[in-house]
Symmetry: C2
Subunit: 350 residues, 2 copies
């Protein structure tokens, strides 16, 4: 399958800027991925002229007309019911039908999750879809899940997150056995709330490269390739991180603006500050994977620019090209075999 052409369905109308961002990003993606194709889904009167200006890649792009757009503040339930002809929905339909291998949207997160689940369906034995972004660390990057809406998780859900995250890391980063950590409040096995303790037990017996508990600061130290937590804790961790980063960068700016002397020193420090900014450029980390589905669906940040949106498309491409869905299925099947063997052995001993 990896020699097959990968086609990405792009919801061109989603996000804060619509085609002004999504189409240039798609064109840049096509230039960087010579074998890939895209289907631009949206209002063709907006998309076709943009495409026509780029004959070098236009033949690998097609346009699918979609008149409706899911609003950013629309309720997921209503969007699912009423937006059957939206660009978001039609892009997912293409994946469902096999006309595309992955879908990317910068639209309404809740609606995208609901539609992805409805159109693509869940993988058997995965209970809930998860949202898995990639975040920078001191050593590289880390996948953290869930950052979606899974707020009351069981130990089994956390185990499934571990499997899905590890398979995403193996698909995107070509790691044979990505390390998986469980977000907890101490490194000892006895730490944490009941659900987390039980999840640790399951992860230890999962066959994954489980490295045990990691604490909040371990995420950024790069202690694990994948960090597992429930959606509540994940959301708090992400937002707190953004809050600290904003506070420090804003304060640095304020300090450099304090007087003429500090403004001059800012000029001197500018190259260093630019380097630092580039190192943690959140745009490079754009593209969160919706996992647990029978197809690849990637969520871009709504305010993504063309550079960031291209990263989300490229991530969707890698996930599809490296069969993330099949990897998750196979890993789940392995786990079940392992569990069955363990039960059989326990039965024989009894």
């Amino acid at each position: 399958m990896s020699s097959d052409v990968i086609t990405i369905a792009i919801d061109c109308m989603g996000g804060d800027f619509g085609p002004a961002v999504t189409v240039p990003a798609a064109l840049a993606f096509l230039r960087a991925h010579g074998a890939a194709r895209v289907v631009l889904v949206g209002r063709s009167d907006a998309l076709s002229p943009l495409l026509a200006q780029h004959p070098d890649v236009a033949e690998r792009a097609s346009v699918l007309y979609a008149d409706e757009v899911v609003a950013m503040d629309e309720s997921p339930t209503l969007a699912l019911k009423n937006r059957k002809k939206s660009s978001m929905r039609l892009a997912l339909n293409l994946v469902k039908e096999g006309a595309a291998q992955a879908s990317v949207s910068a639209g309404n997160t809740g609606a995208l999750m609901a539609m992805s689940r409805f159109v693509l369906k869940m993988l058997p034995e995965i209970d809930r879809p998860a949202i898995c972004p990639v975040m920078p660390t001191m050593k590289g990057h880390v996948y953290v899940l869930d950052l979606g809406a899974n707020v009351d998780c069981s130990a089994e859900h956390l185990l499934q997150f571990g499997i899905m995250g590890a398979m995403l890391a193996s698909a995107l980063d070509h790691k044979a056995a990505p390390s998986v950590g469980l977000l907890n409040i101490g490194s000892e096995e006895i730490k944490g709330n009941e659900v987390v303790k039980q999840a640790g037990e399951r992860l230890r017996n999962s066959g994954l490269n489980f490295i045990g508990n990691i604490e909040g600061d371990g995420i950024y130290k790069g202690e694990a390739d994948v960090v597992v937590c429930d959606g509540f804790v994940g959301n708090v961790a992400l937002k707190v991180s953004e809050g600290v980063a904003q506070m420090l960068t804003q304060s640095l700016k304020q300090e450099f603006r304090r007087n003429l002397l500090t403004r001059l020193s800012a000029l001197a420090a500018l190259p260093v500050l630019k380097h630092l900014k580039a190192r943690f450029d959140h745009r490079a980390y754009n593209g969160a994977s919706l996992l647990g589905l029978r197809g690849v669906s990637v969520k871009s940040h709504g305010s993504a620019d063309a550079f960031a949106f291209e990263r989300a498309i490229a991530r969707a491409y890698e996930a599809a090209h490296n069969h993330v869905v099949e990897r998750i299925s196979a890993c789940q099947a392995d786990l079940h075999k392992r569990q069955d063997a363990a039960s059989a052995a326990a039965g024989e001993r009894a």
Copy 2:
């Protein structure tokens, strides 16, 4: 009562540095607080000579001999059982007996919590003690609780954290009605897990200045004076914050060390960077309050230097001077009256 002399019992042996830090901090505290007294608890052969060198404040300090020290890695249960003559325990005993109005220790957190609970006892109708540190924000500072070991909390526990945090903020910052936020994953009332939703309901009817849900980044934007969460989420939030801050500051250092030019620009930027460092100097925020007890017990970071430890003593002094324990009791009593009145009104209507 506020005209009475406040005496602080100081566990001089706790923490990474013992008397080398705790005694200079106590002396500096006495110089800054002309009416206060301290009892230095620890090995008198280590404490008395240090005290003798400072006759200007020595008359407001006394020494209580304690031979035992609670080790930093000792189990709280064993420390409670075996360390009845430790400096930590004797300092708490002084508060219990009324010979001191507050106790400060940089020792083993778990042991301090267990001993504080055993010696000082819980306030009636508070189920669990909480640990409440103070953290910097864009606007000033915020109290976040629980950051202790309360990992499986009920809505009632979170309500009690709200009351205790608000009363701490009112005591330390002289705010009549400190704003209380509930850490959640969205600002709408319907967001969050079941416990958090129910806690929101209780906080809305508590009579506190409850401003609703706040998200992780809202902590650092200074959206509330007090932020309530369970001990698991609080611990993750704190550690994640440390992780992000470390990653950014270490990376900034790395970028400034990249080559000769960047090293020169670092020299130019040095005053600005020093200013920034001072602004978020974690030492200034040292001193987490153990709340819910019938006395004031403050935990200093184990690695605190004299400046940081003095801040913890000063915080304990303010908490005792401004009657934080009595405030929590009164607030709980008010809440019960309110609940009784509401039940009575409901009964009459029925």
